[in-house]
């Protein structure tokens, strides 16, 4: 019998450490499939971040560095500048990229770094147990917004794709999600494009993936997908925010 569906070569056999139903797993798989399909497994260098994806260096079967909290774009810059022929990507959460690491992502984009960023926005800090993230939506209850996020106290959620697309240095920015099979296909196409551009020598490329955190949102996985559609899609509209290749 012919095997027509299996593990991507760019994933190791190590079981994911994510909670059941967490969409980090889907996103990992998509990145690995894209690396396989583009034939870049042997030249790819990934940079993991600090968050629930901190073990991404164990899951991706490519050369990997693990960065300190927020600094993956700087680490990726160092790697790409030292080895311009390798394909360099980061995998970061919203606390990592949109709070502590805001300066690093903004300036990597401003410099047009020829890297690919996978930005997983789950509107919460998963790893540390469900505190407010910069992307937490208004009214959302978290460990540190027990009465819900309010404009008066915590201000508005940060929209990174919109912000980064305003910079001249960004080349490709798309926001996607993975909560239905159709969305998953679109997400994969966006991730592929973000790598393809880097292969063509273009930067800066980022895909923001709206993702669920059933554990810290306090709901079962399917309900979390509905919650994302109802509460995150209106605040973080899907779509292509920047695509210089299509100009």
């Amino acid at each position: 019998m012919e095997k027509i569906f299996g593990m991507p070569k760019s994933l190791t056999a190590k079981p994911f450490s994510f909670c059941a139903g967490c969409t980090h797993g889907i996103i990992h798989r998509l990145v690995a499939e894209v690396i396989d399909e583009l034939g870049i497994k042997e030249s790819a260098i990934g940079v993991g971040s600090v968050g629930c994806s901190v073990f991404s260096y164990e899951f991706f079967d490519v050369d990997m560095a693990s960065a300190s909290h927020g600094r993956a774009p700087a680490v990726a810059t160092g790697i790409k500048r030292a080895r311009p022929n390798n394909i360099v990507f980061t995998y970061q959460g919203d606390g990592d990229l949109a709070a502590i690491g805001t300066a690093e992502i903004v300036h990597a984009a401003a410099r047009s770094e020829k890297i690919t960023v996978i930005f997983v926005n789950n509107a919460i800090y998963g790893m540390t147990g469900g505190q407010m993230a910069p992307t937490t939506v208004l009214g959302q209850k978290t460990e540190t917004t027990p009465y819900g996020r309010t404009v008066e106290n915590q201000g508005y959620p940060v929209k990174m794709s919109e912000m980064l697309s305003a910079l001249d240095g960004s080349n490709f920015i798309e926001r996607v999600t993975v909560v239905t099979p159709a969305y998953v296909n679109k997400a994969k196409a966006a991730i592929k494009k973000a790598f393809q551009y880097q292969i063509e020598g273009k930067g800066f490329n980022l895909v923001e993936v709206l993702s669920t955190c059933p554990s810290c949102w306090g709901m079962p996985p399917l309900k979390a997908m509905d919650w994302l559609k109802e509460n995150m899609l209106p605040v973080f509209p899907l779509g292509v925010y920047k695509d210089n290749g299509n100009k």
């Binding site: 030249s43 260098i45 600094r71 790697i79 080895r83």
Partner: protein, 348 residues
């Protein structure tokens, strides 16, 4: 021996780094080391290297982490407040066992302090600075020639031991113009099979400082300690001046402070105070071996451009065998020859 050429300290750092095969520099502007990035911004493109002005010292040290992971010789440079910002990154570099060179052209603190030279980052450099049980190799130059020698040595030792090294200078050395001999040094760059280059033809490589299992992390720490013990045994460096059989008093001073201390030793001898000097060159590992034989020494005077930091390591090395006195100035002021002489007369 080559021809001698005149060079400013800050430029000598850059010249030596390039001769050592350093091909990546990441930094953020700060006085008093600004001539160095300006020099490298000009020179790096000419040798096919990378010069990048980062958005902060935090970004710079993490770019350094990335470039070192990718297997190239890489350096960053800053001054005291900027070095404080780099500490988390330095701890990660030590944990991940990456060879890098960090220059600190010190200014006086605490806080924004002043841009005048100082030695008040000694503790931060030799006792940790960042979190965790790690050590930096710390080298302290006292002349522009030694800037060249120690930058090269710093790169070689960092690669040899897979560990971060710090070049710890004081502001005035960066400004000092002196003749130097570039010699015929060849960098000693080992193979780096652990580096991230893409996994073609081999298993994937990982660069990380994460060991989530406490037993594994303890094992990692014990391995680091073994490495540090080796460095302590092999890499203590110091200079002695008139530390002969006649010497009854000993001054201990490092870096540019030792130049002033040398003049004080000469003057003291003229007065009949039989004084010698130990100038530590490696601040970590501290040159304990220099203090092995103190049998004729009545007292030791430690002189620093700080309120007393290295004096603690002198006391540890001497371990109560001889009284250890201290004289220091802070805030960018430095002890003068006369002040040191006065202190010697006082403790005699």
């Amino acid at each position: 021996m080559g021809e001698k050429i005149l060079m400013k300290g800050n430029e000598a750092i850059g010249e030596a780094a390039i001769s050592a095969g350093c091909r990546c520099f990441f930094g953020y502007p700060i006085t008093p080391q600004s001539e160095l990035p300006a020099f490298l911004a000009k020179k790096m493109p000419l040798v096919g290297g990378v010069f990048l002005q980062a958005e902060s010292e935090i970004a710079a040290i993490n770019m350094v982490y990335g470039a070192a992971s990718a297997g190239v010789r890489v350096m960053t440079s800053s001054s005291s407040p900027g070095i404080s910002l780099k500490q988390e990154g330095i701890s990660y570099i030590a944990g991940a066992e990456l060879p890098v060179l960090i220059c600190n052209v010190q200014r006086a603190g605490p806080g924004l302090g002043t841009i005048q030279p100082s030695q008040s980052d000694y503790f931060q450099a030799v006792k940790g600075g960042g979190h965790g049980d790690y050590r930096l190799i710390v080298l302290s130059p006292s002349s522009v020639q030694e800037v060249i020698d120690l930058i090269r040595l710093g790169f070689d030792l960092a690669d040899k031991y897979k560990t971060p090294a710090m070049f710890l200078a004081e502001g005035m050395l960066g400004q000092l113009m002196e003749p130097v001999d570039l010699g015929d040094y060849k960098p000693n760059i080992p193979d780096k099979p652990w580096a991230l280059t893409g996994c073609k033809g081999r298993e994937k490589n990982i660069v990380t400082s994460l060991w989530i299992d406490p037993e594994e992390l303890e094992r990692h720490n014990l391995e680091l300690q073994k490495k540090y013990a080796k460095i302590k045994e092999n890499e203590q460096r110091w200079e002695e001046f008139k530390f002969d059989d006649e010497a009854e008093y000993l001054i201990v001073a490092h870096g540019t402070m030792a130049r002033i201390a040398k003049s004080a030793v000469i003057k003291a001898r003229e007065e009949g105070i039989k004084t010698g000097l130990i100038r530590p060159i490696s601040l970590w590992p501290y040159p304990e071996k220099a203090f092995a034989n103190l049998k004729n020494i009545k007292k030791i005077l430690v002189v620093e451009m700080s309120m007393g930091q290295m004096v603690e390591d002198v006391r540890l090395s001497v371990n109560g065998r001889v009284p250890v006195e201290f004289f220091g100035r802070a805030g960018g002021m430095f002890p003068t020859v006369n002040q040191i002489l006065g202190k010697l007369r006082e403790i005699k």
